[in-house]
C-alpha cells in the first residue's frame, strides 16, 4: 500500500509528460493551438441571406442556394494578403466545376469590387458582409476560411487559413470527394 502510494507520483508524472509529448509532437507537425474545430461540422449551413457586393458582381446568396450539390464557401477580404495567395487555387477549383460561394468579410464595396475585377471572380455568388455578422453565423474566426457543404446543405469540413497546393491536394480534394459520396 505504502509502496503503491510512493509510485503513484511517478506514474502520474509520466502520464502527464506523455500527454504533453503527444501535443508537442502534433504541434511540430502543424497543430495550431489557436485554431478551434468548427461548431458547425455535421450541422446545416446557416440560413443567412446575404446581399450582393455591388451591381456588377454576381451575388447575394442564402442558405438554400447551398443545397442540391456539393459546394464550397470561402471567406475573403480585399485587405487580406493570404486571400490573394490562395485565390489562384480557388479559381482552379471553380474552373473544375466546384460551385464556390464567397463571404466578403468586413470590406468596403468599392474595394471588394475592384479586387474581384483585378484578380478575377471565380465565385458563383459573393455575399457582402461589411459588419462581419454572417461570419459570426458561420463561426468564422479569421480570414481566409473555407467550408465544404454537401448536397443536403450540411457543413462537412472547415479549413482555417489559406489553401496551399499541399492543403488542396491532401485535404480539400479528398474532403470534396467525401462530401460527394
Amino acid at each position: 500500500m505504502r509502496r503503491l502510494l510512493l509510485i503513484l507520483p511517478v506514474v502520474l508524472f509520466v502520464i502527464l509528460i506523455g500527454v504533453l509529448a503527444v501535443l508537442t509532437l502534433q504541434t511540430k507537425e502543424g497543430r495550431d493551438p489557436s485554431l478551434i474545430p468548427s461548431a458547425l461540422l455535421d450541422k446545416p449551413a446557416p440560413e443567412i441571406q446575404l446581399a450582393a457586393v455591388s451591381d456588377d458582381i454576381p451575388g447575394g446568396f442564402a442558405g438554400a442556394d447551398l443545397r442540391g450539390r456539393v459546394t464550397m464557401v470561402n471567406v475573403f477580404a480585399s485587405w487580406c494578403v493570404p486571400c490573394l495567395a490562395e485565390h489562384p487555387l480557388i479559381t482552379r477549383l471553380a474552373e473544375d466545376g466546384v460551385p464556390v460561394y464567397a463571404i466578403n468579410h468586413r470590406d468596403s464595396a468599392p474595394e471588394a469590387s475592384k479586387w474581384l475585377k483585378v484578380n478575377g471572380n471565380p465565385f458563383t455568388a459573393v455575399g457582402f458582409d461589411p459588419e462581419g455578422r454572417a461570419s459570426v453565423e458561420w463561426g468564422v474566426t479569421g480570414v481566409p476560411e473555407t467550408y465544404i457543404i454537401n448536397a443536403e446543405g450540411i457543413v462537412t469540413f472547415k479549413h482555417a487559413g489559406p489553401i496551399t497546393a499541399k492543403v488542396l491536394k491532401d485535404t480539400i480534394l479528398p474532403k470534396l470527394r467525401e462530401a460527394g459520396e
Binding site: 509502496r3 511517478v10 493551438p33
Partner: protein, 671 residues
C-alpha cells in the same frame, strides 16, 4: 569577437558542468575529500564562465551588434539603454542564458557559503545542481544558441515589443527566474539527501533559507508582473489566470507549502518524506512553466516565440530530472524514518493543514491549466474547451478561505500538542476585528457583492490574528512594558518575519477583495472642454497635445478631475505610438490614494468623423488596489526579515554558546 568569446565560455561551462556532475558524486561515494573539493571549484568556475557569456551577450545588446541574430531580432539602435539591457532577457535565447546563469550562481553560492554543510551532502548537492545545469546548457547550445551570427549584418534591429519597454517589466523576468531557479536548490538538496539516505533536522535548516530566498524572489517577481499588467495594459486588470501566469503561480503555491513544511523538519524532525517530495514537486512546477512558455503547445499572451522542437527537449529534461527524482523518492523514501510525533491539534498539525490546502490549491490550478490540453489529446483534437477565470475563481477561493482562517490559529498552537481552546480565547480580539470589518464594510459599501464584506472580515481576522500571536510572544499587556520590550528585542527575526508576511497576506486579501468587488467605471467619448460624471466626480477633458518621446510619438490628454467639494486634480494619460514596431501602447494616468486608485486612459474614438475632435475616455475608480501591491511588498519584507535571521545565514559561524540541542542525527562528521 566578443560574441565568440561568449560562445566559447558557454561551451566551456557545459564541459565543466558535465565534470561537476561526476567528480563530486564519485568523491562523495568514496569519501575522497580532494574530489569533493573539486566540485566546489568547478561550481565557482561554471558560474564565472556563464557570467562571462552573459556579459558578452549584454555587450552585444549595449553596443547594438546586429550581426548577432538575437540582438537583431530583439533590439534597435534607437532604444533607450535600459531597454537595450533588458532586451538581453526579453527573448527566448537570452532568457535561457540568464536561467542557467542564475542556476550556476546558486550552485556557486552553495560551494562558497556552504562551509558548514557535511562535505558529502555538499558534494552531492553540487553534483545534482550540475545535472540540471548540463541539461539546460545542452538545451541552449543545441537548440537556442544566443550567439548565432548573421552574415551580412543588418543595419538596424527589428526592435522590441513596446509593451515590454517599461521599467517594471525590465526587472520582472530576472526576479521570476531567481525564484523559479532558486527552487532548484531545494530540489538538489532533496535529491542529494535521498542519495545520502539521511534527512534530519539539520537538513531542514540548510534547505529553509534557500527556499525562503527563492520564495521572496518569486513573490516579488509575480507581484511586479501583476503590477505591470495593471498599469500598462490600460484597463486595470491584474490577474488573468492565463496559463503562463498559472505556471508562475504553481511553483509559488508549492514553494509556500515547502517553506512551511521545512520548518517542521527543522524544528521537529518530522514530515521529512513529505518535505522531500514537496521540494521535488516545487521545482518540477518551475520546469513545467518553462516548458509551457517555450513549447508552443498552448496560446498565451506571455509565450515566447515558440518552437515544438525545444518543447521536446524540455520534456526530456523534465522526464529525466523530475521522473528520476520521483523514482529515487519512491525507492528511498521508505528508509526515511519519521521523527517527532504530534497531535492533530498542534503547530505541526496546523502546518500540515497549510500544506494540504496549498497542495490542493496547486493541484486545482494545475488541473485547470492543463485540462484543455489533456482533453484535446484524449479526444484527438475534436474537443476543445476553455478554462478561464470563472473556473479558477470558483474553485480557488473555497480552498483559500479555510487556509486563511487557519493561518491566524496555527502559530498560536504549541508544538506537539496544542490547546485549541486557549488559542480561540486569545483570538477573541481577532473575532471582534473580523465582525467589525464585516459590519463596517456592509454599512460603508452597501449593495456590493454579498461575499465581499466577509472577505474583508477574513482579512481583518488574519491581520488581527497575526498581531495577537506577535503580542503573545512578547507578552504585550500581560507583562510589564520593560519585559515586553526585552522579549521584543529578543524575538527571533524568523518569528517577526512570519508575522509580517502574514500581515502582508491580510493586506493583499483586502486589496483583492476591493479590486474585484467594488470597481467603478466610466466609458465615454469627450471633446475638449466636455465633462462626464463618475459617481460624485466630474471629469473634464481640458487639452490634448502631441509630442515626441525617445523612440515614440505620444498623444497626451489633460483631464481635470473635480470632486463634489470642488477640490481638483489633474491627470495626464498618454497614448504612445512606436513607429519601429508599428504598435500603440496606452499609458494610464494613475493617482494612488490610501483607499483607491483613480485610473484614467485616453484612446482614439472609433468613428472617423471624431478624429482629432473627440477621444474615447475610460476612467476607473479601483478601490483597495494599492493594498494589493502593498500586501505583496509587505510579504516580501517579511520574507527578507526572516531571511536575515542569524540562524538562517548559511555559513555564519555558529556562536559557541548557541549549540543546537534537541536535534537528533547530527550532521555527518567530516572525514
Amino acid at each position: 569577437m566578443i560574441a565568440e568569446i561568449g560562445q566559447f565560455a558557454l561551451l566551456l561551462a557545459l564541459i565543466i558542468a558535465a565534470a561537476q556532475v561526476v567528480v563530486p558524486m564519485v568523491g562523495a561515494a568514496r569519501t575522497d575529500a580532494t574530489l569533493m573539493a573539486f566540485g566546489s571549484r568547478m561550481a565557482v568556475a561554471q558560474a564565472a564562465l556563464l557570467a562571462a557569456a552573459f556579459a558578452a551577450l549584454t555587450y552585444g545588446f549595449v553596443v547594438s551588434d546586429f550581426s548577432v541574430s538575437v540582438v537583431f531580432q530583439n533590439s534597435h539602435s534607437l532604444k533607450p539603454m535600459l531597454y537595450k539591457v533588458s532586451g538581453v532577457w526579453g527573448n527566448h535565447e537570452g532568457s535561457m542564458l540568464m536561467w542557467v546563469l542564475i542556476l550556476a550562481i546558486f550552485g556557486a553560492a552553495v560551494a562558497v557559503f556552504g562551509r558548514n554543510l557535511p562535505p558529502t551532502l555538499k558534494a552531492r548537492v553540487l553534483s545534482v545542481q550540475a545535472m540540471i545545469g548540463v541539461a539546460f546548457l545542452a538545451f541552449i547550445v543545441f537548440t537556442s544558441n544566443p550567439f548565432m551570427r548573421l552574415d551580412p549584418a543588418p543595419f538596424d534591429g527589428t526592435g522590441l515589443n513596446p509593451l515590454l519597454q517599461d521599467p517594471g517589466l525590465a526587472f520582472h523576468p530576472p526576479l521570476l527566474y531567481l525564484g523559479y531557479v532558486g527552487f532548484s536548490m531545494a530540489f538538489s538538496f532533496a535529491v542529494a539527501a535521498l542519495i545520502e539516505g539521511r534527512v534530519d533536522a539539520a537538513w531542514g535548516r540548510w534547505v529553509r533559507p534557500w527556499t525562503l530566498a527563492a520564495w521572496v524572489f518569486l513573490t516579488g517577481g509575480i507581484a511586479l508582473g501583476s503590477w505591470w499588467a495593471y498599469y500598462e495594459l490600460g484597463w486595470g486588470g491584474w490577474w488573468f489566470w492565463d496559463p503562463v501566469e498559472n505556471a508562475s503561480f504553481m511553483p509559488w503555491l508549492f514553494g509556500t507549502a515547502l517553506l512551511h513544511s521545512s520548518i517542521v523538519v527543522e524544528k521537529r524532525d518530522s514530515l521529512k518524506s513529505w518535505t522531500i517530495l514537496l521540494a521535488i514537486l516545487t521545482f518540477s512546477m518551475s520546469l513545467l512553466g518553462t516548458f509551457l512558455v517555450r513549447s508552443g503547445v498552448l496560446t498565451s499572451v506571455h509565450a515566447f516565440a515558440s518552437d515544438p522542437a525545444r518543447g521536446i527537449f524540455i520534456l526530456i529534461i523534465l522526464l529525466v530530472t523530475v521522473g528520476g527524482a520521483l523514482s529515487l523518492f519512491a525507492w528511498r523514501a521508505p528508509t526515511i524514518r519519521g521523527g517527532g510525533l504530534f497531535a492533530p491539534v498542534s503547530r505541526e498539525g496546523a502546518l500540515v493543514l497549510n500544506n494540504l490546502l496549498l497542495t490542493l490549491a496547486c493541484a486545482t490550478v494545475l488541473l485547470g491549466t492543463l485540462y484543455p490540453l489533456i482533453l484535446e489529446a484524449a479526444s484527438g483534437g475534436a474537443s476543445r474547451v476553455s478554462v478561464g477565470p470563472p473556473y479558477f475563481n470558483a474553485t480557488f477561493a473555497p480552498i483559500m478561505v479555510p487556509l486563511v482562517a487557519a493561518i491566524a490559529i496555527g502559530p498560536l498552537l504549541a508544538w506537539k500538542r496544542g490547546n485549541l481552546k486557549a488559542a480561540t480565547v486569545k483570538l477573541r480580539i481577532a473575532g471582534v476585528a473580523a465582525g467589525g470589518a464585516i459590519v463596517i464594510t456592509f454599512i460603508a459599501v452597501p449593495g456590493g457583492p454579498i461575499l465581499a464584506p466577509f472577505a474583508m472580515g477574513l482579512a481583518a481576522w488574519l491581520a488581527a490574528g497575526a498581531m495577537v500571536e506577535w503580542g503573545s510572544r512578547i507578552k504585550l499587556f500581560s507583562a510589564p512594558v520593560a519585559e515586553s520590550w526585552r522579549r521584543l528585542t529578543g524575538l527571533p527575526r524568523a518569528a517577526s518575519g512570519m508575522t509580517v508576511a502574514h500581515l502582508g497576506l491580510a493586506i493583499m486579501i483586502a486589496g483583492i477583495t476591493g479590486a474585484s468587488a467594488w470597481r467603478t467605471e466610466l466609458i465615454t467619448t469627450l471633446a475638449i472642454g466636455e465633462s462626464a460624471q463618475a459617481q460624485n466626480y466630474s471629469l473634464t477633458l481640458q487639452a490634448v497635445e502631441n509630442g515626441r518621446g525617445p523612440n515614440y510619438n505620444f498623444e497626451r490628454g489633460t483631464f481635470l478631475l473635480t470632486d463634489r467639494d470642488g477640490d481638483t486634480l489633474l491627470m495626464y494619460p498618454e497614448r504612445r505610438f512606436f513607429p519601429v514596431a508599428g504598435q500603440t501602447t496606452t499609458e494610464a494616468a494613475i493617482k494612488t490614494t490610501l483607499l483607491a486608485d483613480l485610473y484614467a486612459v485616453i484612446g482614439e474614438s472609433r468613428s472617423a468623423q471624431d478624429a482629432g475632435q473627440k477621444w474615447t475616455v475610460r476612467f476607473f475608480i479601483n478601490p483597495m488596489v494599492p493594498w494589493l501591491w502593498l500586501g505583496a511588498f509587505v510579504m516580501v519584507g517579511g520574507g527578507l526579515l526572516s531571511l536575515s535571521d542569524r540562524r538562517h545565514r548559511v555559513g555564519a559561524p555558529r556562536r559557541k554558546q548557541r549549540p543546537v540541542p534537541g536535534v537528533s542525527g547530527a550532521p555527518a562528521p567530516a572525514e
